[in-house]
């Protein structure tokens, strides 16, 4: 026998549909009204033509694209290499900071000082100190390339942040998990590897990816040392023509890079939430 909704049920469904149509209509008209207002606010402004000419000039955008794109490739290279070392060093520091053995006290102390120092220091200062200070020492085996030293500075700063994120993840793992693992006969290292870290990383994936997005943009700061990244390439073009469109081109490329990453983060967070609920961990 097929399901036959009652008259009352049909009424309810119709009312629901009406309500949803109504809210769609309201959302649509309010969006249109906002868009309309913003459009006249911006285009009606007296300097609009000049701003449009300076920031949204298609001709300059096309001219700038190749060199800005080439700069972006540098950003990407720096990002990938820096992120690898940031995760590695961040993990080591986090493990050091969460260790409990009294023998390891000096390691904990150094790790704590490291995170305090590099989270406190402005990235720009670290870049200048590493990028201009170290080559000033004239030690022959240390490379003096702006890109290499800039990446080192980024790793120093970001691994301090990431270490704290991972530490939060490790400390967020319920202590009973450790105890249970030890009770099952796993040693400290095995407990860390098979029980604590997998859960810790799962808890902090969104903030870690957030730091990755942030690093992606900060990778451009190495341009203070002379390297030509996307923003600097845009700056060079802007200085030639006194037109700011190249910056917009660089901005658009950065956004295009970031959107997939942030969507991925959202998706991952949602998936984990539903997974954990399904497992009844809440």
């Amino acid at each position: 026998m097929t399901y036959q909704p009652s008259a009352l049920q049909l009424q309810r469904e119709a009312a629901k549909r009406r309500a949803s149509r109504r809210s769609i209509f309201i959302a649509l008209s309010s969006t249109l009204a906002m868009g309309f207002l913003i459009t006249i606010l911006v285009t009606g402004a007296q300097g609009y033509e000049k701003v449009k000419e300076s920031f949204f000039n298609w001709e300059y955008a096309q001219k700038a694209l190749p060199s800005v794109f080439e700069g972006l490739l540098l950003n990407l290279r720096v990002l990938i290499i820096a992120e690898f070392f940031v995760l590695l060093i961040g993990l080591l520091i986090a493990i050091a900071r969460t260790s409990t053995s009294p023998v390891l006290y000096p390691v904990r102390l150094v790790a704590t000082i490291y995170t305090d120092l590099f989270r406190g220091l402005p990235l720009l200062l670290v870049l200048l100190l590493v990028g201009l200070g170290i080559p000033g020492l004239r030690i022959s085996w240390i490379p003096n390339s702006a890109v290499v030293l800039g990446t080192v500075a980024l790793v120093l700063t970001y691994s301090a942040y990431v270490a704290e994120v991972i530490r939060a993840g490790i400390e967020g793992v319920n202590p009973t998990q450790r105890q249970a693992a030890r009770a099952l006969g796993l040693n400290q290292a095995q407990t860390l590897e098979h029980v604590v870290l997998p859960q810790a990383f799962r808890n902090v994936t969104p903030p870690l990816l957030n730091d990755l997005v942030s690093l992606q943009k900060d990778s451009g700061l190495i341009s203070v040392l002379g390297a030509v990244d996307a923003i600097r390439a845009a700056g060079i073009q802007t200085a030639q023509s006194f037109n700011f469109t190249p910056y917009l081109v660089a901005g658009a490329l950065f956004v295009l890079l970031t959107i997939p990453l942030t969507r991925f983060t959202d998706w991952l967070t949602r998936r984990q939430d539903s997974k954990q609920r399904a497992q009844g961990q809440w």
Binding site: L41, N144, I236, Q240, S241
Partner: protein
């Protein structure tokens, strides 16, 4: 959702704002006039470098550009106490719309492309680009532009010095680009770049004052038409004509040459690169 009164009020608000905005905007005057009545507002960057300025204090009138600025002011009928200096970073000099200064003096080279975005006065200084380095560098003995091909060169962002590297020298390695000449000088002293391209007076200043063991490799041969520094004004500024006429008058009556003699006296005699 909303009750009728609120809805009516919202619609009315949207309508009023929609009508009001164009009216308010239209009331603003067009064209960029003087910033402050009776005062000449002059912009330059902070820090302001020698030999163009002295001690990062444009108001002391010392240094070539400070002296030129006051001479232009006098020519326009402003006494020294009627001149006001504002600090303007490069990106604010080139921003669209009306500027925060009447004119800016900061070694900005005049080009046709830039003229589409801002107004320039007549040129007040003829520039030649110059390569500097430190003793022991591999280009210390360079005699020709070809000798610079293999070098790692640097320049300040936003300068025609950078264009000189990419357009004239065309080196094998990508040039380094710096926010300020301060960072560039450090990179040069560190050996991170082999040479730095700057304008000639800056070259003399840096090699004599700032750099230990600094030396001038040579200047580039003068281009046809020549490169000149000009005062920057808002696009279609009402002052451009007068300011330009003032600079022309100062050039014609020998004042510019006299100021150059006083502040840039030591800048002759850099070898010309073949």
């Amino acid at each position: 959702m909303f009750n009728t009164k609120i809805k009516v009020a919202l619609v009315a608000l949207v309508a009023v704002v929609a009508i009001a905005i164009p009216v308010i905007n239209a009331q603003q005057s067009s064209g960029c006039g003087q910033i402050k009545e009776g005062v000449l507002t002059i912009g330059t960057d902070d820090p302001a470098y020698g030999p163009w300025f002295d001690n990062n204090d444009p108001a002391n009138g010392k240094g070539y550009e400070a002296a030129v600025a006051y001479a232009v002011a006098e020519e326009l009928g402003y006494s020294k106490d009627k001149v006001e200096w504002v600090k303007v970073p490069f990106n604010k000099v080139i921003q669209p719309g009306c500027k925060t200064f009447d004119f800016d003096i900061n070694q900005v080279s005049i080009t046709d492309e830039r003229k589409k975005a801002v107004d320039f006065s007549s040129g007040y200084y003829d520039v030649s680009q110059t390569v500097i380095t430190v003793k022991g560098s591999k280009i210390a003995g360079a005699k020709s532009i070809a000798d610079l091909k293999g070098a790692k060169l640097g320049a300040q962002v936003g300068t025609t010095s950078y264009a000189t590297i990419t357009d004239v020298i065309k080196p094998d390695q990508d040039p380094s680009v710096f926010d300020t000449n301060d960072v560039a000088k450090q990179a040069l002293a560190n050996g991170q770049i082999d040479g730095l391209v700057v304008d000639l007076p800056t070259a003399f200043y840096i090699t004599a004052v700032d750099l230990e063991d600094g030396l001038i490799v040579g200047q580039f041969p003068a281009k046809a038409g020549g490169e000149q520094f000009g005062l920057v004004l808002s696009k279609d500024s009402e002052l451009t004509k007068d300011v330009s006429a003032a600079v022309d008058a100062l050039r014609a009556n020998g004042t510019l040459a006299k100021i150059a003699d006083q502040w840039l006296a030591s800048t002759v005699g850099a070898p010309v690169l073949k």
